[in-house]
Amino acid sequence: MLTKRIIACLDMDGGRVVKGVRFKNLRDAGDPAECAAAHARSGADEIVLLDITATSGNRNTLLEAVRSTAHSLFVPFTVGGGIRQLDDAAAVFDAGADKIAINSAAVREPALIGAIAGRFGSQAVVVAIDARSTGDRFEVYISGGRVPTGRDAVDWAREATACGAGEILLTSMDRDGTQSGFDCELVRAVAEAVSIPVIASGGAGSARDFIEVFREGRADAALAASIFHFGLENIGELKSELSDAGIPVRWPC
């Protein structure tokens, strides 16, 4: 049976993982390769590395981090942040990513999705959508959530799918970082509208939240960053709870 995926996300700034890693040894705290390996060992089904600053100046830092992280990681590895053209994607794949995530660039130029998919396959293209509720619908934001686009998230997810996206990484800006649960309404609206897998993101706080987003939100996968870093949820323990609740997961693994 196809399992629901638990994805660990590493937010990276200047070559270091920035969200609340509480290793005592500061020298090693937040090294992306070490964090990724630790998450994979504890049962993460995939690793996502997001370069949250993604200015053109630190591309080499990102590529170096991708290279070292990919080196001994044998689960799927997605990299996002600052990918604006086919060449950027090619460099990230060359450094060892299995998939790339594109967000703002895809909204500005939807043809980029097809261009990357055409060369590397749809399975390698994740379209990341940041959305916020307007009351009666969900609006797409770009540029790290700073710029509203006026676009409807469900419509954009459909278009991205038609352009050749392999997966949608859907982040609720309303829930991001709150640990108050995923936005199941948003996730379900998108999951029911597209034929490709939807990864829910934003709001993970407890095992119950994951159960809800898989059941009510119809998510195919769920992503979390801070809770895994803070150690609130060990991925193994989370999977064991999900399994007990009847959610199919890769556990033990």
């Binding site: 196809l2 080196h71 590397f120 399975q123 390698a124 490709i196 897998p197 693994c253």
Partner: protein, 196 residues
Amino acid sequence: MIAIVDYGAGNLNSVKKAFDHLGAEILVTDQPQTLATADKIVFPGVGHFSSLRTLDRSGMAKALLHAASTGKPLLGICLGMQWLFEGSEECNDISGAGIFPGKCRQFPSSVKSPHVGWNSVAAKEGSRLLRGVAQNSFVYYTHSFHAPLVTETTAATEYGLQFSGAVERGNIFGVQFHPEKSGDVGLSILKNFCEL
């Protein structure tokens, strides 16, 4: 030396990296004549069945079939395994190798396509490639077309229907999943191939 066939589509880094990790001597090649000097051959595939058109043009298809006929172990991964069958609905005007019978088809409309994620495999006893893989181990899949169950199926996976997750006949092996992305289970399968 294990030759990894590069036919100009997709990303071979992960496959290369996994064999590197296992300490295997590998050579990524797009030259058909290189296969003659290889001890084993890995044919990874990603993308659309139509990308296999270049195999015929370059002479790689012929070289793969010849190498296979000499008894060299050949492992097709994902699209590489689909090529071992007669063809695929994804691109009807390109023939596969026909080493295994039947055509690759789309998933039924009752399930989302592509099939992406970790699914379990029920491995048959006696498979050389899957030696030591526990029942219902999880492996990582990402594909839109599937190969049928055949008598040479060594692992079946369920997704809307039962399909071939792995096939094996003599020196010819195929896996629809990505062993290079399937954690320790996947690495153990690649290690088995190295040790054939």
